[in-house]
C-alpha cells in the first residue's frame, strides 16, 4: 500500500512545506508556459473557438453554446477577458460534459437541441444560432420568462456558461474578488488533529 505521508520539516518550518511546494510548482509551470508559448499567449488563448478540439460536445452543440456564450457574456465591452477568445468557456463546458453521467449528458444534448430549434412565432421560427445579437438576447429573456420547462432549460444553460466563465481567475479582478488567500496570507497548515484522549 502506498503511504502518502510526507516527512515533516523540522521546527518552525513544519506545516509550511506543502503550500510552499505548491506555490513553487505553480510558478514553475507558469514560467515554463510563458517561455515555450510566448508571453502573449500566457493570459490569452491563440486558438479561435472553431479550431479547438471538442471531445464531448458535437459541432452543432458547440455552435449553440458558443453563440449563447457571446450573447450572455458580452464581456469585452466591459473590460473583462473575452468569454470566447480568452477564457475557454465552451472548452471548459466540453471538459465538464465529458465527465457527466451518461443520463445527464443525454439530457444536456437534448436541452441544447430544444433550445436552438424551439420554434417561436415572435422570432419567425428561426433557430437561435441564426438570430441577430439583439433578437438572440430577446429570445434568451423570453425563454427565462416562459413556461416552467423553458425557464428551467434556460437557467440550466446559463448556469453552465456562467460557471465556466467566472471560474477562471482572470475574471476575478473585474469583480474585486481576491481569490485564494491562504498562501498569500502565509497561513500555516495545522496538519492532522491529534488523537482524542481515551
Amino acid at each position: 500500500m502506498k503511504n502518502n505521508n510526507r516527512a515533516p520539516l523540522p521546527g518552525h518550518l513544519a506545516g509550511l512545506e506543502p503550500l510552499s511546494r505548491r506555490g513553487f510548482l505553480r510558478a514553475s509551470v507558469l514560467a515554463g508556459a510563458a517561455l515555450t508559448s510566448g508571453c502573449a499567449s500566457l493570459f490569452g488563448r491563440k486558438d479561435a473557438p472553431e479550431t479547438l478540439q471538442y471531445y464531448s460536445l458535437k459541432p452543432d452543440e458547440v455552435d449553440v453554446i458558443t453563440r449563447l456564450t457571446e450573447i450572455m457574456l458580452p464581456t469585452e465591452r466591459y473590460g473583462l477577458p473575452s468569454s470566447t477568445t480568452v477564457v475557454p468557456t465552451v472548452k471548459n463546458i466540453d471538459i465538464m460534459a465529458q465527465r457527466f453521467p451518461e443520463q445527464t449528458r443525454e439530457l444536456l444534448g437534448l436541452g441544447i437541441w430544444v433550445f436552438n430549434n424551439r420554434p417561436m412565432m415572435s422570432f419567425k421560427f428561426k433557430k437561435f444560432t441564426s438570430l441577430s445579437d439583439a433578437k438572440a438576447l430577446e429570445y434568451v429573456n423570453a425563454m427565462q420568462e416562459g413556461a416552467f420547462f423553458e425557464r428551467g432549460l434556460m437557467t440550466t444553460l446559463k448556469a453552465l456558461i456562467a460557471l465556466n466563465y467566472w471560474r477562471d481567475e482572470r475574471t476575478w479582478p473585474g469583480l474585486e474578488y481576491h481569490g485564494p488567500v491562504t498562501e498569500t496570507w502565509g497561513v500555516r497548515r495545522l496538519g492532522n488533529a491529534p488523537l482524542p484522549r481515551a
Partner: protein, 532 residues
C-alpha cells in the same frame, strides 16, 4: 496498549493508480478483513475509527478520489469538477434541485460549510417514542453528541467569525425582533478565508480528512479510494463482504475488480448511495421502505444588495443563524456567500449587459441560505443492471413543502430589507427581484406552484436523509435499532439514511453521533458478529 502515532499530514490511501502499478494484485483480486466500511465521510470515517480502535481489521472503500488537503487550491470551480458528486450535477429527475455532496476521501465533510447543530431533545424523544428507538432518546443519545463535539472541536462562532454579510442578517433580525445566534462550526483556529466549499488547505476544518480517517489509519485501517462498491455479497442470508470495481478517476478506465470477504459490512455511503447499493444487492426488505422517505431539507439562497460594499466573501463562510422559526415552523436561515460561482446558484443570473452588471455588484451582496423542513416523500431508485444501470432521485415539492420554501425565502428577504438592503433577488427560475419590502409580497405571489412545483424555486440539498429508516418494527423500517438490517444479519447502516424522519437541523453532527452509536452496538456484541 501500544503507542499509536497519527501522521502529521495526509492519510495513507491506496488509489487506482497504485492498484494499476501493483502487478501482484492483477485485474481481479480478493481482500479479507473483519469489517468492510463503504464510504469515508462523516459516518464511514467514524465507524472505521471506532472499529479499528477496538482491534478489528478494517477496510474502508471510497468511490471518490483522494484529494489531500495540501493540494486544495481554494478554487471552487476546479474543486467542483474533481471532488463534488457528478460535478455538482447530481439532480432530481426534473433537474431543478441539486444534491450537493462530496465525492472524495472524507466525503461531504471535506466540502461542507462546517455548520453543526444538534437535534433538539424533543426531536430525539420523538424518535424514541414513535419508532421504538429508546437508545436515541435525548437522555441516552446526548453523550454521543457530546463526545462528537469534543472530537470535532465544535464551537460557537466568536465575534471575529461573524463577517459583514452576517452582520446584515443580525441587523435585520434585531429590527424584526427575530431570535438569532452565532452558528456552531467544527473548525479549529479558523483562518477566515471564506473558501470552505473548496476544502480547507490549512487543515482548520475538522473534516474526516484530518480527524477520524487518519486516526482510523493509525489504528491500522486500510483505505482505498476510486473504489465503487457494486453490491453486498450474502451467504445463507448473512452479509459476507462486497464486490467493487476500481476506476481511474481521471481517465475513467476500469482498473480492477475487487472482492472483499468480511465478517461484517457497514454501509456509510450517505442518504442517496447507501439505499442504491442495497437495491443493487437485492437484499430482503419486508418494509418496502428501502430508498423511500427521502427527506432533503431543501434550501434556497436569497441575495440582498446593499448600499455599501460588504465584500461578503471575506471571513467565515457561515456566521450566524436565525433560529426564531426553527422549532415552530422548521425554517432555519444561515448567513452565507463565498466564491463567485456561489452567486450562480441563486435566482436568475440574467444575460447580456444585465448579467455583467449583476456580477459586477458582487461586493455589495450579502447572501442567506433559507432552509425549510420537508415531509420526506422523495425516493431514490436504481434502474437496470448493477454494473451498468443508473440512479434516479425522485423529489418534487408537494404544495405544503412549496409553501414552506416560499415562506422561508420570504422571511430571509424581509430580514435583508430590515437590515438595509436596497434590493433583494429572489431564488426563483423566473427573474424576480424586489426593490423594497413593499413589493415583496406582490413578487412572491408570482411564484406559482404550477405543475408539481417544478422549476419554481432554485433549491439545493446538502442533507438527503431517511432512505433506510431505523426503527423497531421490521414492517415499517429497514434497519433495526442497533443499525443492523432487519432481514440481513451482519449488514449494518451507519449514515444519514438511518434518520427515521425529516429533521430541520443540519444533520452532520447527528450523523457522526449515530455512526458512533452503531459502532458501539457492534463492539458491544462483538462475539455475535465476528468469528475470531
Amino acid at each position: 496498549m501500544a503507542f499509536v502515532r497519527v501522521p502529521r499530514d495526509g492519510v495513507p490511501v491506496t488509489q487506482a493508480k497504485d492498484v494499476a502499478l501493483d502487478p501482484s494484485l492483477g485485474k481481479r483480486f480478493t481482500l479479507k478483513t473483519d469489517v468492510v466500511v463503504v464510504g469515508s465521510g462523516a459516518a464511514g470515517s467514524m465507524v472505521a475509527y471506532e472499529m479499528a480502535k477496538a482491534g478489528r481489521d478494517v477496510l474502508v472503500l471510497e468511490s471518490g478520489r483522494y484529494y489531500p488537503s495540501s493540494e486544495f487550491t481554494e478554487h471552487l470551480g476546479d474543486t467542483m469538477t474533481k471532488i463534488y458528486q457528478d460535478q455538482v450535477g447530481q439532480v432530481n429527475t426534473t433537474a431543478d434541485i441539486i444534491f450537493v455532496q462530496g465525492a472524495c476521501v472524507g466525503g461531504s465533510t471535506v466540502v461542507g460549510a462546517c455548520v453543526m447543530e444538534e437535534p433538539g431533545d424533543k426531536v430525539l424523544d420523538g424518535w424514541a417514542e414513535k419508532y421504538g428507538l429508546d437508545a436515541l432518546s435525548a437522555e441516552k443519545f446526548r453523550p454521543y453528541l457530546d463526545k462528537v463535539a469534543e472530537e470535532l472541536q465544535i464551537h460557537t462562532n466568536e465575534a471575529h467569525e461573524i463577517n459583514a454579510c452576517a452582520h446584515k442578517v443580525i441587523q435585520g433580525c434585531e429590527k424584526m425582533q427575530f431570535s438569532w445566534k452565532p452558528a456552531q462550526r467544527n473548525v479549529k483556529q479558523c483562518a477566515l478565508t471564506g473558501h470552505c466549499l473548496a476544502g480547507c488547505p490549512s487543515d482548520r476544518k475538522m473534516s474526516s480528512l484530518v480527524t477520524h480517517l487518519p486516526w482510523a489509519s493509525a489504528y491500522g485501517a486500510r483505505i482505498f479510494s476510486d473504489t465503487e462498491v457494486i453490491r453486498v455479497k450474502t451467504l445463507d442470508g448473512r452479509a459476507r463482504g462486497v464486490e467493487a470495481r476500481i476506476v481511474d478517476p481521471d481517465s475513467g478506465a476500469h482498473v480492477a475488480d475487487m472482492n472483499v470477504d468480511a465478517d461484517m459490512v457497514v454501509l456509510a455511503a450517505g442518504g442517496i448511495h447507501t439505499p442504491l447499493i442495497l437495491q443493487r444487492s437485492q437484499v430482503p426488505d419486508r418494509s418496502g421502505q428501502l430508498g423511500r422517505n427521502l427527506a432533503i431539507q431543501p434550501f434556497t439562497q436569497v441575495l440582498g444588495k446593499f448600499k455599501e460594499p460588504l465584500y461578503g466573501f471575506r471571513g467565515a463562510l457561515v456566521g450566524v443563524q436565525v433560529d426564531e422559526f426553527t422549532h415552530t415552523d422548521g425554517y432555519t436561515i444561515f448567513s452565507g456567500l463565498a466564491e463567485p460561482e456561489s452567486l450562480l446558484a441563486q435566482g436568475d443570473m440574467k444575460a447580456g449587459q444585465a448579467h455583467i452588471e449583476f456580477m459586477k455588484d458582487y461586493k455589495y451582496y450579502a447572501g442567506v441560505n433559507a432552509f425549510s423542513k420537508d415531509l420526506g416523500n422523495g425516493y431514490v431508485k436504481w434502474d437496470g443492471d448493477a454494473y451498468s444501470g443508473s440512479k434516479t432521485i425522485h423529489y418534487n415539492p408537494s404544495r405544503e413543502e412549496f409553501e414552506n420554501m416560499k415562506a422561508s425565502a420570504a422571511l430571509a428577504a424581509r430580514i435583508f430589507f430590515s437590515g438595509g438592503a436596497e434590493k433583494v433577488y429572489l431564488p426563483t427560475f423566473q427573474s424576480l427581484q424586489a426593490n423594497s419590502v413593499f413589493e415583496l409580497d406582490e413578487k412572491m405571489d408570482k411564484v406559482d406552484y404550477g405543475i408539481k412545483g417544478m422549476y419554481t424555486f432554485r433549491s439545493n440539498s446538502f442533507s438527503p436523509h431517511g432512505t433506510c429508516r431505523m426503527g423497531a418494527d421490521p414492517y415499517e423500517s429497514v434497519v433495526s435499532p442497533t443499525g443492523e438490517m432487519h432481514d440481513t444479519p451482519g449488514l449494518f447502516v451507519a449514515d444519514a439514511s438511518l434518520l427515521p424522519e425529516s429533521m430541520s437541523a443540519p444533520i452532520q453532527w447527528t450523523v457522526h453521533a449515530l455512526a458512533k452509536y452503531v459502532s458501539d452496538q457492534i463492539n458491544n456484541n462483538a462475539s455475535n458478529y465476528f468469528i475470531s
